[in-house]
């Protein structure tokens, strides 16, 4: 079965470091130096304490499936999922390089970078 082609990333000044990281094979997340919490998706102002003292850091790329649903009624089915990152926050993503019928909540996964139609590659997750 053909794999779904990822569209080009939407990049703006605030998200550029995330995609610059992806271009180098790094999954970038943000955390707050005031409340010491990592969050996702990344943004300038901390969603927990509204501090502007947030910093980018590279995530380990490890996580586990929080939930998943495979869209079947399309020519190229694909698995939408939330992955709980080892750093804490959950990230909306796709699970790739897998048998969709065998995906399970709690399954260990790791980040992989898949080519987009154009621009930087897209972070997705594959079973360990």
């Amino acid at each position: 079965m053909a794999e779904r082609q990822f569209p080009a990333a939407v990049i703006n000044p605030e998200s550029k470091p995330y995609w610059d990281g992806a271009a180098q094979g790094k999954l970038m997340i943000k955390s707050c130096t005031k409340c010491n919490k990592a969050f996702f998706y990344p943004r300038t102002i901390c969603p927990f304490c509204a501090s502007a003292e947030t910093v980018w850091k590279e995530a380990s790329g490890k996580g586990e499936i929080y939930s998943h649903s495979t869209m079947r009624r399309v020519p190229e089915p694909y698995a939408l999922a939330y992955v709980t990152l080892a750093e804490g926050p959950k990230m909306l993503t796709n699970i790739v390089d897998c048998d969709f019928d065998k995906l399970e909540i709690g399954q260990k996964v790791h980040v992989v970078f898949k080519p987009a139609k154009e621009g930087p590659p897209i972070p997705a997750f594959a079973p360990d």
Partner: protein
Amino acid sequence: MSIKGKAYIMGAYEHPTRKAPDKSVPQIHAESAVGALKDAGLTMKDVDGYFCAGDAPGLGPLSMVDYMGIKARHVDSTDFGGSTYIAHVSHAAQAIAAGKCSVALITLAGKPLTSSVPRAVIPTAPDASYESPYGIVVANSYGMCAARHMYEYGTTSEQLAWVKVAASHHAQYNEHAFLRDVVTVEDVVNSPMISNPLHRLDCCVITDGGGALIVTSPEVAKSLNRPKVKVMGAGESPKGQAGGDTDLTYSGARWSGPIAFAEAGVKQSDIKYASIYDSFTITVLMQIEDLGFCEKGQGGKFVSDGNLISGVGKLPFNTDGGGLCNNHPANRGGITKVIEAVRQLRGEAHPKVQVKNCDIALAHGTGGSLGVRHGSATLIMERE
């Protein structure tokens, strides 16, 4: 200040069309408005407040009041998806209580069946950089919620199917319903998988259509010759991903429900009829738990064996057939939720599904997308 008793729903109209290739969207708004005004015994000249949301074409209320010839002194285009119209009743009551208008018109219309506009990525949305590559649509968003609910609480596809079965039992009596065939649990679980664990029959219909409501001040209500449906209480709450502390097992109903119950001064056992937003079967299950009609995690057990069927179960719901069978105009089901609750409170539902002594009813909706960001709205109404 409370809205309790400060406003009345005096007009309600569901456009009979489910497929309208020969009508424009503004036309369906206006035809619905005329229907609701006629129902109330009012005219367009009486309207001084207008409420619409993202389905209103053009520049929302500016385009629509001009199109319909309304002289408004108050407009509101709050939008949080399909549940907005339930919140509009509350917002209209607030405006009326504050003296900003006395006859509020709420309209909805759309044609997703015959002129579908694909949901495009909004590149400026704050989440666009991080979510747009992944193909999130409604079915897989709600699918993830269902999958997690099953994982945490042992909910089954058969239990979810009961929601659709109950809706179909009601829809058979609605001559306008898009789907009128009674279905079984087997029919639902054997229908094609859309986005697991949701099957085709776990999903609502896609229909063209519209609806309108008239909310008035107590003085105007008194002058009209229609049963009075009093606004008792309302709550609303957006819920999102909480910076990554995402929890898909509950909805914003957990917050909007208690606000509405407290304002109305009633409890779950007082509710004789409930309109519960049914974009998918899982939507209903989570909302009835979060509204406190059963314990968290027990929704599957609660809906089984026809507990949502009027005349059979404890909580008659969506007696028009709901979004699952009757109508989901503009892909936004909030207005039809209020309309059927008004029919029930007036005693004007179909005799086969009319709840006896229906004096207090609830309408609740989830707009947007349950698995990412959604808006919950709860409304409690009483027959006077």
